[in-house]
């Protein structure tokens, strides 16, 4: 795939390359990060690799099943003290490559920045929640769940946060999600107006434990069809079988 020799751009790893689109800097440019060597020594089995991007940004890849102890150590160890969770997000590169969960950490006492990443395969989108470590992760994890469909184990209240709770088109920031959504505009408008504004008003409505999310989509005869993994409690509206009608159409036509 080499192209544009001498243009200054590096080759892009192809879809078969499982390492994501990150290209590490040449060895000579790497500068030591105060936390990375000790992190590597302590969590050797979980430490996958270390990259330096954009000149001075250190990225550490950690095995997704060990992310919690690694981050807990980074927060509680007095020499690290990454007490400020600056950002928690995810990146989807498309093409079936794993989704990267990105933890952007900052240590207010030591003024260190570190980015920790965990790559989760599309078949098993689940990591441990870090809400016990930083409370700030609560909404950020909900947003990642909403936008990417990554589930966080032991999260206190894992619901959609930006999209409506009955949103049935999938997870918008995935690369396989079309820009204008899966349904036609007319269907989107109908569904939007079918939900009553006072939904999720009483505690049993907005309490945790409800999960009626569509987890995946497959094309059947040109129509998007939801693949459900639904654990529904209460009076949550079910996504219907054909995916084109009905999430909330039953009871709220005119109120």
């Amino acid at each position: 795939m080499s192209r544009e020799e001498g243009s200054g751009y590096r080759d892009v790893p192809g879809p078969a390359d499982d390492t994501g689109a990150l290209v590490s800097m040449p060895e000579g440019l790497e500068r030591a990060h105060p936390s990375v060597p000790e992190l590597q020594a302590r969590f050797d089995e979980a430490f996958l690799r270390h990259e330096v991007v954009a000149g001075d940004e250190h990225v550490v890849f950690v095995a997704p099943d060990r992310i919690y102890p690694v981050l807990e150590w980074l927060k509680t160890d007095p020499d690290q003290a990454y007490n400020f969770l600056s950002d928690l997000t995810a990146v989807d590169f498309g093409g079936g490559r794993p989704i990267q969960i990105v933890y952007q950490l900052y240590s207010i006492p030591h003024r260190h920045v570190l980015r920790v990443k965990a790559e989760v395969p599309l078949t098993d989108l689940e990591v441990e929640s870090v809400v016990p470590i930083w409370s700030a992760a609560n909404w950020l994890e909900r947003e990642v769940y909403d936008m990417f469909g990554v589930r966080f184990r032991n999260h206190p209240d894992l619901r959609r946060i930006l999209m409506p709770e009955v949103y049935a088109e999938g997870h918008p920031l995935r690369k396989d999600f079309p820009l204008r959504g899966r349904f036609s505009r007319a269907e989107q408008t109908r569904r939007a107006l079918a939900q009553a504004p006072e939904d999720y008003y009483v505690p049993s409505d907005f309490g945790p434990g409800r999960d009626f999310q569509v987890v995946g989509w497959q094309e059947v005869g040109g129509e998007p069809v939801p693949v459900k993994e639904v654990a529904t409690k209460g009076k949550a509206p079910q996504p219907s079988e054909d995916g084109s009608s009905g999430a909330a159409s039953g009871d709220r036509t005119s109120s």
């Binding site: 892009v12 689109a21 590169f93 003024r111 980015r115 946060i161 820009l179």
Partner: protein, 425 residues
């Protein structure tokens, strides 16, 4: 329930030093003896269309009498799919999206995004551009705090500061318009520079504005800072400690009001902020009044930075001389084949960033504003993520209002200085 309320009332009034903070006015907690009612919870829905939620925030409050026992914020009523749209835009086309995200301080967003992409591409902007961006960011910090001050005053029940603040804002609108042609949606930056050099006399206009601003600020402060109603409604309301605030991820004035001097401009300086003389105001009690005082002082400190930046504004080119990112001049375009090719490629394909990623944090008007861009080598971002300061700040609102009174919810919400366009993105 009544006993509990009175205890809360008493505990909400901390011991105050008479030197720094004016003592509370005649509003002392009174004995509200009433029969103990059966605990019956009541639900109140605030928003999404409510004048005091500063946009389309929705709060579901569970009340025990007048005490909030549970608060559940609902956001997403302004989710405009910025980050998805950014993946379908070229690098420069994303800039118009950034200022629609935080329409209270659009230039800070423009600059932060351009800085992140420039860091990813390894482009070093010129000195004049750096100082110009510092001027723009500090100007918009004042701009944003002024709107916050006006709406805060409305929420506390005073209308006059709103009018005063908007008169000052109109001057910034005119400065925006003189530079960029738009009052709010500025889209002022480009990768590698600015959309244009500043018009002649623009810096004089900025200087005139910051010379006149302190007088208005004194007037507003004389209306609010020692006002008994204002003090009674804000002191001791929405208290959060420093450790909790860091744990919740608060940043900006909300964090500094708790006494933590975390300011990205000081801790991780960019654009030579370490060479400017300014101070980071911090609070003591972490309540609404401290947040108010911190923001007032930040306006004055921004004026200091603006004075210094205007003094040191160097001459020279505004844009980098880099054909990868900046269009060649019209003369070169007509005379030079290579410039013609650069022009064609830049217009047809857009700026291309090398594969990689970059996270760049600046001190926005609301807190730490992070821009995270990921590139695969093409002319469009793979991922453009904004670390929204208000989003994280708002997540702390249940902690701030639970246990307080219903009337305090409005003040706490106003003191957080949220902007829904950035929270919901």
């Amino acid at each position: 329930m009544s006993k509990k309320t009175i205890e809360l009332e008493v505990s909400r009034t901390p011991e105050m030093g008479m030197d720094f903070r004016p003592a509370p006015g005649p509003m002392q907690p009174v004995d509200l003896a009433e029969p103990d009612l059966r605990a019956e919870k009541m639900l109140i829905n605030v928003g999404p269309q409510h004048p005091a939620t500063h946009g389309v925030l929705r709060l579901v409050l569970e009340l025990d009498g007048e005490t909030v026992v549970r608060c559940l914020p609902h956001i997403g009523y302004l989710h405009s799919s910025f980050e998805k749209l950014g993946e379908y835009r070229t690098w420069n086309q994303v800039i118009p999206l950034t200022d629609r995200m935080d329409y209270l301080a659009p230039l800070i967003y423009n600059c932060a995004y351009a800085m992140a992409v420039e860091k990813l591409m390894g482009v070093e902007v010129t000195e004049r551009c750096k100082v110009t961006r510092v001027i723009m960011m500090e100007l918009d910090r004042v701009f944003s705090h002024l709107l916050w001050l006006g709406t805060w005053a409305i929420d506390v029940g005073a209308f006059t500061p709103f009018l005063y603040a908007f008169q000052e804002r109109e001057k910034v609108y005119k400065l925006h318009e003189a530079y960029t042609g738009a009052r709010i949606t500025t889209s002022a930056t480009r990768i590698g520079g600015m959309m244009a050099d500043m018009p002649q006399g623009w810096d004089v206009g900025v200087r005139k504005f910051i010379n006149e601003l302190p007088r208005t600020m004194d007037e507003i402060e004389s209306l609010l800072s020692h006002n008994a109603i204002h003090i009674g409604r804000t002191q001791g309301v929405g208290v959060i400690g420093a450790e909790d605030a860091i744990d919740m991820g608060l940043s900006g004035p909300n964090l500094r009001a708790t006494g933590v001097p975390y300011d990205v401009r000081k801790d991780r300086p960019y654009y030579d902020y370490e060479t400017y003389e300014f101070e980071v105001p911090i609070g003591e009690y972490g309540d609404c009044y401290d947040r108010y005082m911190v923001r007032l002082e930040e306006i004055r400190q921004s004026c200091r930075i603006l004075h210094q930046a205007l003094d040191r504004l160097p001459d020279g080119p505004m844009n980098v001389d880099d054909p990868r990112v900046i269009l060649p001049s019209k003369t070169d375009l007509m005379n030079d084949m290579e410039s013609m090719i650069h022009h064609f490629k830049l217009v047809m394909e857009g700026v291309k960033a090398p594969p990689g990623e970059s996270h760049f944090s600046v001190e926005g008007s609301k807190g730490e504003l992070g821009m995270y861009v990921v590139s695969d080598g093409g002319s469009k971002p793979v991922r453009w993520r904004v670390r929204p300061p208000s989003f994280v700040n708002l997540a702390a609102i249940p902690k701030l209002v639970e246990g307080g009174l219903l009337a305090d919810v409005i003040m706490v919400n106003a003191s957080l200085d949220i902007v829904l366009g950035e929270i919901d993105r």
